[in-house]
Every structure is written in structure tokens, then in C-alpha cells.
Symmetry: C2
Subunit: 343 residues, 2 copies
DNA sequence: CTGTTAGCGCATTCAG
DNA sequence: CTGAATGCGCTAACAG
């Protein structure tokens, strides 16, 4: 506590500037001098003061990580894992992460010059904020969200849904429902698109009565969606836009006297911790949370170093995880599945 | 970007020192001057530079939030919600949160003087680290963990377990099992203690064959624990030390042909997002995550302001949430329950 | 290759 | 009540 660059300089018999050079690996230092400085620093237990360094360099080596307060880090949202992975990656690059939920206006951490860039996780980051950031030229990247001309790391929602529904079709299902909390969510809309494309590619008609939504941001939304679906139709399988909704829907199905997967097969999306312990264990589409966090940090760091790099969208592919909720082939033997390209 | 206190001073026709005083609410400024400065600052969109301020004041207005990398922010751990609540509370006090998983040695963020204090969440923070921090005199507080002479915010594990088991007894159960992942975990040990005390207070014998552990930190640990229990005994109810383990155990019970709650009642602990969507919905002990985060921040800020305050342990009580997994009275009508004291 | 000088932006003496 | 001077700890530009 309190040993400065001056103390080190005095002990090593050099000037503070030399110490600074050595500690920052600047070129042009005699090897012998370098050793002497390093030794002195080590002996004194010198650790550079963060604020002083930031003030002098205008760099804080800190990144902001923002999520919307609503789903925040609730267990069913996987941003906690994205955060943890991001922090690990950031640390390996000498960066720290300042966490915050997003609220009203522009993040204070930015204006105070606390952070060099921002990671914004989730679909529900206010559009206005994103545009403001884009306009102001701050380095930032979206995770699980996207906008034209903005750097983002996205989940292959459409492809994952396509694969899930294709699997159902391959199992022999012809009447496949789609359930989600609400269509306005970007991710859910994309998963819905994947659902429709899979139907079409396999020559199956799209039938609106097989689609149902729950209530936006309401607990038990999946339960409601399932009930609504059952009033309109009786599909032999459903693809549900996320795990929690799927589990809630399964409950409604059970209460309606349907057995899962015998009477109705269900596939979810996310492969959160919920999926393996659901009853029955949920077939679902795995989202690689770590990859999202890691890529977000790498991309952001790159943008910071190369401010004029053109915006990029990085897509993280998904992987279908087959458990028990989707059952086995309905009628005949399956053709062999092509090898998986996940991970 | 770049409007400094000097700019404000010039525009307001005063000196930088005066601006600083106004902006920091220092006494001894004429009202008229104050207004003029405030106006100038507003017009210029002045925002104080964080690094410069920190360097001058030796205060970063930043708190570190550490969790162990292992369970990190996985959905089944509720620290994500503690973090979110802590961040909100911190923000209201003008503080920011630096997030990190805990690893090898002393947190760099501390030595670099990035943070004024630390929140350490979870039972698995290395003992050595805690002792090191205590020795070095840094302000810090433990969450969901404790040590003599160290500030901490704890869950009433023992009391929560006591209430859960008492409920089971009240329902008519006499053979009540206890299941957990592994006994070495502090929280689980405390919950186990509550289990035993409840048995004792109700005149029931403690029988080791009714207790089983799974495998430490192994997925499906609850499943294993339940199987082990079933080999030794056939209780009519079990109290399980956390929700995830409970849900896994329920699966094992079902596979053994037991109906829940008819053949075996189960109660969990945590009331995470898993509990309400489990099958059947899980009766469990609610942990108030927000309270943990809020109290941690408040306590830490207090310690920072009053460094010599004696260490405190703050206990957050729990609340039994009754759902379906524990069924209804076994034999007779229940006596009326006393009003709840939760929240 | 290394020392000296001069800030980074702000808060805080000490004068007046 | 307010201004001028000083320094927080470090890096960078310029000499030497």
C-alpha cells in the first residue's frame, strides 16, 4: 500500500521514467538495468496504481458488461454464464469487467471514462441506447441481439430451430406446433422463422392454428401458450422457443392428460440447467454461452485497438441435444442421421 | 468527450477550484456563484473524469464482486441475482461493481487500488484468501459464507431447514430422509443441522440410514444420493439440501416407481427458478437473493466509511414455500399453522 | 540508453 | 467567499 514508482526508482538507482519503461516493456533498456529495476520492484512489492495509470494513458483496461434489469441474471436467462466466460477472457487480456444492469439513459460508466467499451447482452437493450452508442462512436458489441451495421455476437436461432423441427419431422411428426412467450422478442421471432422454414423445406404446410403465444414476461407464460394451443389443435409435437416455456408447456400438456413424449413430443431451446432435470429430460437446442462471452470480449478488444474496423456479425452455431422429451421414431426406422457439426 | 473542469470554470467566469467545490457540494459558496457554475456545467455537458478524481481522492467508488469460478453464475447458483441486486443497491450509492471470478491469489483489482472493498459470494471462496484479506485490513464482506470475526451476510440455513422438516413432521411424516450433494459444504452442513434439530425437537430419533450424500460437484448428484438412500431405507418424506438436488432425486424416486408426493414427499431449499416448474412443483425454502445483495453492499459501504466498526454477521431469514411436492396431511387434519414470519 | 520536464483532470491546501 | 498554487502516481516528449 503506497509504494510508488519513485520508491522503486530510488532503490534501483534510476529515474522514475526508467522504471516506467521497464514495467511497460518499452524498448531501449539495457538488460542489466532492467533486471535491477525488476528486482527492486519485486522486493518492494510494487504494484502500479490503477487510477494514476489511467489518468496518464487515458486507458482504463476495463470493459462494461450490461444486461437489462428485467431478466437480468435470473437463472433462466443464461447471461450469468456469458458474463463469467467474458470475465475470464477479459482477464486473460489484462482487462476487467464492470457489471451493470441497463436503465434509463447512457451508461454513466461510459461518460465518466471508466470503460473503454461496452458489451450489451440481450434482446431487450433499448434501441435508443444502441443508436446513441453507435452515433457516439464508442466501441461496443451486442450479444444475443443485433442491428444492421452494429457489431454483434448472435446465436444461430434460425438454424437451431430449423434443426430441432427437422428432427421432429424426421421422427415422423407431421403436425408440429410452435410455442413461445411472445413474438415481439427478436430471438423468438428468429426461432419461429426457423420453424417455418423447416416445415416448408420438408413439404409441410404452415398452419397458424398450430402456433400459440403466452403472455409477455409473465410467469407461467408457457403454460398459457400450451393451453391456447390445445384449444385450437392437437399436434403430435411442439417446438418451444425456450426451455422454461417448454417446461411450463409440458405441465399444461400433462394436466390435459397427454403423455410426453408418447402423445406429444416437445423440443426446447437454450439447454440451460433446467433441461436435463426436467421431466421428462428435455430435448433442446444448446446455446454455447461461453463462446458468446469469449467472442464478445475478443471482438470488443479488437474494435478498441482498431477503431475503424468495419462492423461484423459473428454467429455462434447451436447443437441439438437429444434427450427424452421428443421420444423415438413415430412409425418406422429412421434413416441414419448425418454426423453433427456442433460444438 | 474532453470537457474539463477548466472549461466549466472559464465559462462560468470562476476558477477551477470553485467549480470543484460546487460540484462536490462543499460549503462556503455564494448561491449565485453556485448557480452560475451549475449552469455552465450543464450547458457544456460536463462529466467529471473518473480516473482523475480517483487519483486525487484515493477513492474509486467501486466495489469488487467475486464468486468462485466453479459454480460461478450457473443458473442453479443464485449469485447472479445477488449480483444484480447488489449492483442496483451500489448504484444508488454512487458505486459501481467490478465483477470477477475468484482464482489463484489476491485479487489484482484490490492491489491496483481499483476497488475500495470486496464482496465475496459463496461457500467455496478459498479460506486462505479470506484470511489474507482479513489480515490486510481491506474492507470486505462474505455472502452465503461466514467465518468468526469476519463480516458476513448469511442465509438462515439452519432455521430454514428446521422449518421445512417441521412442516413435514406436521404433515404426519415420521421417517424423514436427508439428502445433499456433499456434507463438506458449509451451507449443506447447516441445513443438515436444522434437519436434526427439528427431528429432535419433535421427539423423533435421528437415524443415519435416512441420510445420503451424492458425489461432490457431479451432475446428477441428487440422483445418486436418492439411489443410495433407497438402498438403505424407504422414508415417507425427504428434505433435500437444495432444489437442483431435489429435482434430481425426484427423478430417481419416480424411476423407482414411487409417486411424489403420495409415496414420498420432498422439500427442497433455495426456491430458485427451478422449483416452480419442477414436476411436481417443488415445496422449498425461499432464499431472498435480493436481500443478500443489498445487505452486502450496505454493510460494505458502512465498513468503508467506518473502518473500525466491529465485525457483524447479518442473517437473512428464509420462508417456506409450499407447493405440491410435499402433499397434504398424511393421516389427520392439521392443526392450524402459526402465521408466517418470512419476507 | 537514460534522466529531466511537463502534464493527465481533479481536489485541496493556503492566501487573500 | 474565491483564486492561485501544489500534488495524486504515472507516462510521454524531449534532451542528453
Amino acid at each position: 500500500m503506497g509504494v510508488t514508482i519513485h520508491d522503486v526508482a530510488k532503490r534501483a538507482g534510476v529515474s522514475p521514467a526508467t522504471v516506467s519503461r521497464v514495467l511497460n516493456d518499452r524498448p531501449g533498456i539495457r538488460a542489466e538495468t532492467r533486471e535491477r529495476v525488476l528486482k527492486a520492484a519485486r522486493e518492494l512489492g510494487y504494484i502500479p496504481d490503477f487510477s494514476a495509470r489511467s489518468l496518464a494513458t487515458k486507458r482504463t483496461h476495463t470493459l462494461g458488461f450490461l444486461v437489462h434489469a428485467r431478466h437480468s441474471l435470473s437463472s433462466h436467462s443464461f447471461y450469468g454464464q456469458v458474463l463469467a466466460a467474458a470475465e475470464k477472457e477479459a482477464r486473460q487480456h489484462g482487462y476487467h469487467l464492470l457489471f451493470s444492469t441497463v436503465h434509463d439513459e447512457a451508461p454513466l460508466m461510459l461518460e465518466e471514462q471508466r470503460v473503454e467499451g461496452l458489451i450489451l447482452a440481450g434482446c431487450d437493450i433499448p434501441r435508443a441506447l444502441i443508436l446513441h452508442l453507435k452515433h457516439s462512436g464508442v466501441p461496443f458489441v451486442l450479444v444475443d441481439n443485433h442491428l444492421p451495421g452494429v457489431n454483434s455476437i448472435v446465436i444461430d436461432n434460425e438454424g437451431g430451430a430449423y434443426e430441432a423441427v427437422s428432427h421432429l419431422i424426421r421422427l415422423g411428426h407431421r403436425e408440429i406446433g410452435f410455442l413461445c412467450e411472445w413474438m415481439e422478442d427478436l430471438s423468438f421471432a428468429e426461432r419461429f422463422a426457423g420453424y417455418k422454414r423447416a416445415l416448408q423445406d420438408h413439404g409441410l404446410p404452415y398452419r397458424p392454428e398450430l402456433v400459440a403465444e403466452g403472455e409477455p414476461r409473465t410467469p407461467g407464460s408457457g403454460y398459457i401458450a400450451a393451453q391456447r394451443l390445445l384449444q385450437k389443435a392437437r399436434p403430435s409435437a411442439v417446438f418451444v422457443a425456450n426451455d422454461l416455456t417448454a417446461v411450463e408447456a409440458m405441465r399444461a400438456f400433462r394436466e390435459a392428460g397427454l403423455d410426453i413424449p408418447k402423445d406429444i413430443a416437445v423440443v426446447g431451446f437454450d439447454d440451460g440447467d433446467l433441461a436435463p432435470v426436467a421431466y421428462p429430460p428435455l430435448t433442446t437446442v444448446r446455446v454455447f454461452r461461453d463462446a458468446l462471452g469469449i467472442q464478445a470480449v475478443r471482438r470488443l478488444l479488437y474494435i478498441i485497438e482498431h477503431p475503424s474496423t468495419p462492423p461484423l456479425q459473428i454467429r455462434v452455431f447451436t447443437k441439438l441435444i437429444i434427450r427424452e422429451s421428443c421420444g423415438t421414431p413415430l412409425h418406422a426406422q429412421l434413416p441414419p442421421m448425418p454426423a453433427d457439426a456442433g460444438a
